[in-house]
Subunit: 192 residues, 2 copies
């Protein structure tokens, strides 16, 4: 049991031993409920065939993709991870559909367009009526490269492509923002 627990990230021999004794001593029923929940999730959660976000096997396509109101927006927001979808949904600022890359282009690690499922995105661009693709990859070197690649792909379909704004976050003092972000926020200043 101690060895098996170490499959989890951040759990080494010491934590694994502590967890094992804790569950055995005091939380046997809760431990069994936990294994059941993890078991079900690992066996039943797959990728939505449309947006490639995680979804139940029974819920295919996922809830967001089957929502007719979202389809009416005719827009796709491209993100790197399922947790990005959660963050955008939590901000309640976007009503369209998503596409989850599960990573970013990184040729050295063998991650190319195929690994990100970009052929599925291409299929959607040619088959659905999409009016805008909003790219929300992170502002890192890899995220920038991924954004450029997708942008040139989308432009071939004559569809508007945009990227979420880079700049100073709300509430912050200028001194608490890193210099590069500050430089970009001056660069991307908007007319008032």
């Amino acid at each position: 049991m101690i060895e098996a627990l170490q499959v989890m990230p951040g759990i080494g021999p010491v934590s694994a031993t502590r967890i094992a004794y804790y569950l055995l001593d005091r939380k046997r029923t809760e431990g069994l409920l936990m294994t059941k929940a993890v078991d079900e999730a690992l066996s039943n959660i797959s990728l939505c065939p449309i947006c490639r976000n995680y979804t139940d096997v029974e819920n295919e396509p996922c809830q967001l993709c089957s929502n007719a109101r979202r389809k009416e927006k005719h827009s796709i927001c491209v993100v790197e991870t399922p947790s990005d979808v959660m963050a955008i949904e939590a901000s309640a600022s976007y009503q369209g559909n998503y596409f989850v890359l599960h990573g970013h282009l990184s040729p050295l690690d063998g991650i190319g367009p195929h690994e990100l499922g970009l052929e599925y995105l291409k299929d959607r661009l040619s088959q659905e009526r999409i009016e805008e693709v909003i790219i929300a990859t992170s502002h890192t070197v890899e995220g920038d490269v991924t954004a450029s690649y997708i942008a040139s792909m989308v432009k071939k379909f004559d569809i508007r492509v945009s990227r979420i704004a880079t700049g100073v976050p709300l509430g912050g003092e200028l001194g608490s923002v890193d210099g590069n972000t500050l430089a970009l926020s001056l660069n991307y200043r908007r007319d008032m």
Copy 2:
């Protein structure tokens, strides 16, 4: 001495006592150098008559304002505090001139356009050849109000007015950005 030290923010009776004994016991010469430096600064630093940033009495106008190359940019960046000037200078992304408000509009605290020295900014707009005013007030309610007020003032002179970009900072994951910033970054998305 202990009572006098408490004029500094964050220094109560306990810290003041500790500082007093420390300086008396071990750092008498350093302490005297410190008082001399603070003394000089408090007596000699005034506001630059052009940008209202801090400057030596002997250096009027300040180094940034007397730099001819900066004047050639014909732009003024409006910030709330002198430390904002330092942050922007550290990012090496702006070569124009500044105007420091030393605060933001806050009518309830009695801070109006006059307290921010906006009549000096007005004078500059009418007398210098300014092509753009870049507003870099913070993204708070007061910062937004101040930005709008200055924007409408600048527009009367038929000068371009812009504000630094709001959005997701560089390198960050979407999940680590607050929801309102994320919402604005979607709103202010830029075409690629």
